[in-house]
Symmetry: D2
Subunit: 249 residues, 4 copies
């Protein structure tokens, strides 16, 4: 492995191009949204993606997230609802993934998501059955669809293949499609097709994102119990660390 | 009053033009989203808006809502959280308001909203203090901002003036601005400026919309307690009825 | 025939909706471009289109043209080139056609055009061979393609069927397609498919438009010989008159 | 000077990001338009721009041009008009310039242009008086406007300062502005403001571009006299060479 970091120039080019694309697509980007937590490299071994660059079409796990809203929505909530408020709230993100690149397998215990493709096409890989968290009893109303089997020829990031084993369902989403809901507790990943002429651009509307990123570390917690809460559980331990900090130098 | 209905031709032109605008702005419109509950006329007296039409710039209370998502987000929720799940969930709407027209004063006991202007400019009128619901104790984390005083010359719909009395705060939102959050339990209304060259187009990302519209009347309730729940409380009683059915003939 | 005019309300709604769609699609609309020559009804009998309205999907010949540029490009031209300068120049228009409606058969002796679909799909009907103008010898470099035969079921405006007889070639254009060139002297017409969910929106980049519209009647001519020049030759005599004035009352 | 070329990776990243931005803005990009003549580096000394990269905001002369149309428009022209047909025709390009970068001073003897800003803002520098070509007599109808004086602080590319001396007029163009016409024979240059959050994206509609680029070298000439015609006259001799070939390795 020859790379353990991304250079400041590489990082800034990545983010500036992504933010320009987001603005062209009318996403409400403010300067503060373009920061050192917006470009995400999922683990030390994924910096290698920058050896040949974002347009090499090689499989690596890295993406950009511009977050325009992460609202706890606790104001006005009956105090008795505080215990489960961490399953609620509102988050709006634009996610930008280059051809061949992935958002790696993970699930959220609390967060339910929805996807709206804005540019390009989105390949979603997921588990149709939820992860059991302890012996917790959970509600069920509208389960995940079975999806399709994987198509041929999806190249996965080297060393990460096993982390996709349980994500047996597949869906391909396009601009104009109905919103696709990913219920909480379902393992999921996605990528931009390797032969795409454009980066995949997806708007994610979800419940609150509990993520102790560097950028957010000094923000007060809406409720005391939310402090330090990290709701992203990546299958690959290496990916977990990557969400929190980025080595730029 | 000379009008107590909208003609099928008027209604369909209104909806088809609005849906075309939504598609031009890349909102994910499916055919089923363009239905007889999407065009909303807030009370019998507001059909009068069609006498001179949508471009007369006269003040009336009517708008279009295209809803691409209304997800209860109960799947995977701990069963113990069911009691307050109605304060959660995910809704994504595109709202289209013609020049001079209003979404009238109302509040939601449960729903927290956010606004993103896509085209035109949005004038928001709201109460900076929440409505008390019974003697319920509620949480507070990030209260509504004080806003600005109203500008001069905002023409209100005839006979509805009193319903705006408590909405003393004002904000003017533009495309590219940060998301504007309207907490649950706050009275609010908004309009498209009367001199706008375009209809106002706003994306609203919010928690679940509890609305027993005609279009949704045969959909199963995510939880038994949600059945028939109506979370829109309009100040003007006439506006309340308008949200549920539209007289098209 | 019950209609010999369009009402001011109908006309303004048509133009305001079209201009809003154009702005949503980022076309550079200035207020002066939205005028009483922008909505075109091709002949007295076509006002009937407004009996059931723009969304009836019935075949009529009417459209909107927003012209952002009509530049003679005579400045800096060698004086010796003045004689044929009327075949040159630059025009940029956005054309908006409702479902089922047509731009009727016509040709330009001087104007060469190109089409770029922005929204919806464009059905082009044309003659693959040029009209001979007198015994004029003309250049040929890259002739029009043969095109396809017409599809089944294209409903033409009542009484106008014969005017399409020589337009035997067909092409269907979509957003993202290469520019489609319509050489001068070729009969052509086009429509928005009757079942389209959106109006057809097309950008036309062409050489100068010689059109003595009401809106342009007091503009000075770039060259004396251009004064009063009318380069639109419609097959149906009734359509010819329609391009120049609109009966709004 | 440390750089005399652009690497294949740098070039492809530049072009792929630019083409993605163009597609997001709905410009009709076909794969063939993304080629090794689309990225233009105006002279050997301007490769230095890649040392710190496209987002360094340093002044260099380089840009991307995606050409969707270059139509001679000779078909159907009276044979007697052939002599001046090279002043006519239709070209449609999308030009993408990174912050601080320039299209350098040049004029076209034959080509008249117009600009439409799609994203960002365009700073145009030009001479309000035309260049005399020999003792040719030329027409004049609507001369260039005087423009404004230059603002403070426009950083020019090192060693190229003198080439801007005659471009004393300035205009700043924004999305939605009326089309700005640059008549043939006028010296002009433009840049993207150095502090812009996005690359400048401009649509240029013009008469035919006579450019013997590498990409076009095997295309037949519309008229024999056009063969090898090069209508771009750059003030800086070094810039001239740059338009024709790009050193990628």
């Amino acid at each position: 492995m020859t790379r353990d970091h991304v250079s400041r120039r590489e990082y800034d080019e990545w983010l500036n191009e992504a933010a320009s694309l987001a603005r062209a697509l009318r996403y409400p980007i403010t300067p503060e949204m373009v920061n050192d937590s917006a470009g995400i490299i999922f683990g030390d071994d994924q910096y290698e993606a920058f050896t040949n660059g974002l347009w090499s079409r090689e499989p690596y796990e890295l993406m950009v997230i511009f977050e325009s809203l992460n609202e706890a929505a606790v104001d006005g909530l009956p105090a008795a609802g505080a215990a489960h408020a961490e399953y609620s709230g509102l988050c709006d993100k634009l996610m930008i993934v280059h051809p061949g690149k992935f958002c790696p397998p993970h699930f959220h215990q609390r967060k339910t998501e929805s996807y709206e493709v804005v540019l390009g096409e989105m390949e979603v890989f997921y588990s149709p059955t939820p992860v059991a968290v302890g012996d917790e009893e959970v509600l069920s109303f509208s389960p995940m669809p079975a999806g399709e089997p994987w198509p041929e020829g999806v190249a996965l990031a080297a060393g990460r293949e096993d982390s996709y084993a349980e994500l047996t369902s597949y869906a391909r989403l396009r601009a104009g499609d109905p919103k696709f809901v990913m219920h909480r507790k379902h393992l999921h990943a996605f990528r931009c097709p390797a032969d795409s002429p454009v980066p995949l651009v997806v708007r994610e509307v979800s419940t609150y994102s509990h993520e102790p990123t560097e950028h957010a570390h000094d923000k007060p917690a809406p409720l005391p119990s939310w402090s330090g809460l990290h709701d992203n559980a990546f299958v690959s331990p290496a990916a977990n660390s990557g969400r929190l900090t980025t080595v730029i130098r």
